[in-house]
Symmetry: C2
Subunit: 315 residues, 2 copies
Amino acid sequence: MVLYGIDLGGTTAKIGCFTEDGTLLRKWSITTDCTKQGRHILPDLARAIEADRSKNQISLEEILGIGLGLPGAVKDGLLLERCVNLGGWGGFDARKELSERMSLPVFAANDANLALLGEQWMGSAKGCNDVVLVTLGTGVGGAVMIGGHIREGCTGSAGEFGHIRVCEKEARTCGCGGHGCLEQYASAGGLCYLAERALSEHPLCPSALRDETLTPERIFSAAASGDGIAEKILDCYADFLGRGLAAAGCAYDPERFVLGGGLSGAGDALLSRVRASYGVYAFPAIQHTPICMAALGNDAGITGAARLVLTSAAR
Amino acid sequence: MVLYGIDLGGTTAKIGCFTEDGTLLRKWSITTDCTKQGRHILPDLARAIEADRSKNQISLEEILGIGLGLPGAVKDGLLLERCVNLGGWGGFDARKELSERMSLPVFAANDANLALLGEQWMGSAKGCNDVVLVTLGTGVGGAVMIGGHIREGCTGSAGEFGHIRVCEKEARTCGCGGHGCLEQYASAGGLCYLAERALSEHPLCPSALRDETLTPERIFSAAASGDGIAEKILDCYADFLGRGLAAAGCAYDPERFVLGGGLSGAGDALLSRVRASYGVYAFPAIQHTPICMAALGNDAGITGAARLVLTSAAR
């Protein structure tokens, strides 16, 4: 028996075919066609899985189901709002429509929640039942597992750690309308903002970052080669993230924190700083909660989507 | 059948006798004897219940069990640390010892968690399964119910909302060692601190609060009679509390917030301000989460302790 996991993003949809024990047999991506309010999205996904099924001679009976990760608030498998970054797609039961097209059971959940499910199944939260995941990418998102179950929240917003306020005096407005949200510092754009600020605050201090367009990769790589300003930037980034984790910790008191998303690839230079900063801000009883980086990288979403089929079908 | 609920505090232990449908038949208090590391606490409690049982001619068979609320971190019924405000009492299985003394089943949990269980059973969270309780008293504590179950957290610290950092520039040190914790502003002492600060920042502004010792009651009553400084103090208090609730909301996305503890008796003047401030700081999706005051007052703890017997015995 196999499982298909889909991680639907604004640019591409990643698809993976898994065995029941979590082995990834193969994975590939297709372009997400966001034109015409995304009306081609589900037909394209169905066609991609049909093609894989036919090429690998898999009968419908050999497929346990399809898991679908969606980039928006999902409650009980339903997308609550139209997705801005899918051209306004949404507002209907995507799960049901794909299920009818494929004649297979389909289960859907929020993409960050599925990344956590994936990390718990095959990644760095293996064996843990109480986990807080914070995703560091274009935005800062999060997901929460309690007693082995994902908590979606009453409006699908549980684990929205990116909008915990970590700074009081912020003139810029966050995407949510607030000021001083964690996302304004700990996202990719937030990191570049901190870099610009540090460079302008220390105009005479030499730095490799002055000569190039700022990107997270360049900042991490400059810090790795001992660039003083780049190190200061990471310190500041980690300080904000530590405040956010400490607040999430007061709320959930989890077994473990996992950092995911694109920026989590930064490795030990970031992780050691975040651990130190968390130690400064965290309540004594939770000061030693482990913090680790996600292990599955870009495959967390498809892995969790496949896992969703197993956990949902078992209910 | 009846249930006994005990709310063990540093000064008194409140005891209540309930029917299975939550009706409080009678309640009384005994003094908590914290001398000799609290060695008299359990014998005193056992004697008090024995006396009630004998006076009301209740046989052991008619008692479903005893619920015990403890003022410290409890995990799976065990007190994790000795209680400072019980003279260092703790470090053993109080549940088992009381059970042996009484020949009755005894269940124990943290007192704030039981207050929430009580409010959900018979108070202002009736019928809700996903609730965040914040208690405003000597300290600022909290409790969380998810899917009808209390979340204790991995170190018994879930819902420690008093130690979410809500202010960046705070010279005073919090009891936890941190700086700028919600408890430093939203506890009874925090409110008096905000009052002192407001009075000294507006030295020429007349206020009834200048002539008396500051207490929460006096501040609330001055605000109720239109004292301008007292109103400013409540605004400031509500501003901090709104920030804390907004952070708790990002984490849990609950069905409802309940404010408990001694200061929650302040009523509408406080509640309307907290709602307004929460609206400013909360993430859009959770901006309309209801906030209400606890309904059971001082009886929440004994009510929840009695309820604990029902929910634990049913497992």
